[in-house]
Amino acid sequence: MATNGFDQFIGTDKYIVSPDLRDVVNVAIALQRPLVVKGEPGTGKTLLAHNIARALNKSLLIWNVKSTTKARDGLYIYDTVQRLNDARFGDGDVSDVGRYIRLGTLGQSFAADEQVVLLIDEVDKADIEFPNDLLNELDEMNFHVLETDERVTAKHRPIVIITSNSEKELPDAFLRRCVFHYITFPDQGLMAQIVGVHHPHLAEDLLSQALERFYELRQIDTFRKKPSTSELIDWLQALVVAGVTPEQLEDKIPFLGVLLKKETDFDVYMKRAAAGAGAIRSRY
């Protein structure tokens, strides 16, 4: 029953995707809807867009949203200063307003000659009205440039990936038009695969012992910031470089600072270790 063009995305050699997420990505592409990805930090939300672009061999445009970003910035910017400057010094053709219209990231993704992947990163950082302001443009994939009275219409609807750290709730009207997926933290099996991508020659016994310790740490709910995938990968690198053996991992966690980045978390861990909680006892 597979239709043409469906099941395009199956992950890349650098990015292991869960079957759930793979299906969701493909549905979003097929239905031409923006995909909103939420989830814990370090679960690869941003990397997803990079790897969709890689897997589908399309170019990627990134719009990093900041607290001061306005929806209009993504569409186009009218460079008044340049135009005034040119008028003053007589450079260029000032009568042509179009020369001073610069497309923003969203605008560029519309104007591109082939389909691109557009990543709108950390959409929740912007003003609470920001997603609503983009509703129409994302829905109809066109917008109006006031200064030139021209309409920029998407030649090919871009594949839109939106990430959010849920600092703020997104408006319902916005979400209704999107496909949504919450990335859960990978379990040990998938994690072993993900690690395999980054450290393909890791000894099996070391890996399983290290994962064991890592998931033990993640069990501690009182941490302000639980260690995530990227920390695990750095930590494994440290273990390999220092030549730590699986046996050494049995009752202690070397290079704990790589996994825990907050002082309070460190204290929490040390207290638990002192109390002899579980197998984790000392730092060195």
Partner: protein
């Protein structure tokens, strides 16, 4: 069947709109679920549920609808066939929806059995969508992050079983009111001021200066607008406030998440404010009100939340504090007056409906602070009061 699912979802209070339902129908009719219940589970969730807080409710609704269809994890074509004319389905009213044919469970089971036979043949043929060997749809290394452990030949885990695991239970947040609504109300507190480096072209001023300059262009820049409002939230965490915990939490999390405030501070008190307020809800860590008044500028917008419902002596007598071992030498009402005098704008939000405000203690507090109901309307009026020009 599918309609049942829709109503199960609604029954579990998942806000599924007709628009979203129609896009699921479109996805199904185009075959994106690959006639697999497991994939349908993920697909429907991605299209219908937009908040991880509802994932658990979704699991329950899914279980309610599809329980009993566990053996083969596949949906038959026939179910999808009722979608044969997807175009005709667009824009249906709920009444028309209800008139669509439903299949009963028995008929489904029979179809499934047939389908299962067919399915095994297909596996032998090696359909690339379904696994890479073995009889399970998810044969990938025997493990899968969704927790669908595939145990070799016989024991594949169906979507219904996954749903029964209720892995998203911890993400639930049964909120009746939307935090977003509260945020929208609080947003009016934003006080935009031009601050920081000059980075925006001030067009009006540029034109003005240029004209004065005899046509020689003079560019004028101004700093961009940044939010400059500072908010102090003082919350009553006393026993009589227990019934309002939910709405208090909502106000708190909304305010806390408003990253646009320049500064946001919150403290707790018990029934009335005396010498000290507390930084934690269990009221172990204290800070003195005097220090607060010293360190915080007068331009903090102060929101007090409490029922202001107490014995009048708790408010007006020295030593009136409800705690036996706590003696306040200055009466509570005096502390309230000091707060009111220090800050330019304060409001008191009361969870008790205004028709019941005719109690002596509430009347007294109302003489000090403008009081509004702790509802969206009240919050709206209150924020208007806070941002008024002084």
């Amino acid at each position: 069947m599918f309609l049942d699912f829709f109503y199960h979802l609604r029954r579990h209070r998942i806000p599924v709109s007709i628009t979203e339902w129609m896009s699921l129908m479109r996805a199904l009719s185009e075959g994106y679920a690959h006639a697999s219940l497991d994939r349908f589970y993920v697909l429907a969730r991605a299209l219908l549920v937009k908040d991880v807080g509802f994932y658990d409710a979704y699991d329950l609704a899914f279980k309610d609808t599809f329980k009993g269809i566990e053996t083969p994890a596949e949906i038959v074509d026939e179910i999808l066939n009722w979608l044969q004319d997807p175009k005709g389905l667009e824009g249906l009213t709920p009444e028309q929806f209800a008139m669509l044919p439903k299949l009963d469970l028995e008929a489904l089971r029979e179809l499934f059995a047939e389908r299962l036979k067919e399915q095994q043949e297909r596996h032998d043929g090696g359909n690339r969508w379904i696994g890479t060997g073995g009889t399970s749809p998810f044969g990938n290394n025997g493990k899968n992050p969704a927790g669908i452990r595939v145990g070799g030949e016989g024991g594949q885990r169906s979507a219904v079983q996954v749903a029964e695991d209720r892995r998203y239970q911890n993400y639930r947040h049964d909120r009746t009111l939307d935090i977003r609504q509260t945020q929208m109300a609080l947003k009016k507190l934003r006080y935009l001021q031009r601050l920081g480096a000059e980075e925006e072209l001030d067009l009006d001023e540029t034109i003005d200066q240029t004209s004065r300059n005899g046509g020689e262009i003079e560019l004028v820049f101004s700093p961009s607008r940044k939010n400059n409002s500072k908010v102090l939230l003082l919350m009553d965490a006393g026993g009589s406030m227990l019934p309002y915990t939910h709405v208090m939490e909502q106000l708190f999390s909304a305010a806390h998440q408003m990253t646009h405030f320049k500064d946001f501070q919150h403290y707790y008190f018990h029934n009335c404010i005396y010498e000290q307020v507390y930084t934690d809800i269990r009221m172990n860590k204290k800070t003195s009100v005097q220090a607060l008044l010293r360190t915080l500028d007068a331009d903090y917008k102060v929101i007090l939340v409490g029922d202001a419902y107490m014995a009048p002596e708790e408010l007006v007598e020295p030593g009136g504090a409800i705690y036996y071992y706590y003696h306040n030498s200055t009466p509570g009402i005096e502390w309230l007056r000091r707060i009111e005098a220090h800050f330019k704008s304060c409001i008191w939000l009361n969870p008790i409906p205004s028709r019941n405000w005719n109690r002596p203690s509430i009347e007294l507090v109302r003489k000090v602070f403008p009081m509004y109901e702790l509802t969206l309307d009240g919050l709206d009026q209150g924020t208007k009061h806070l941002v008024r020009k002084i």
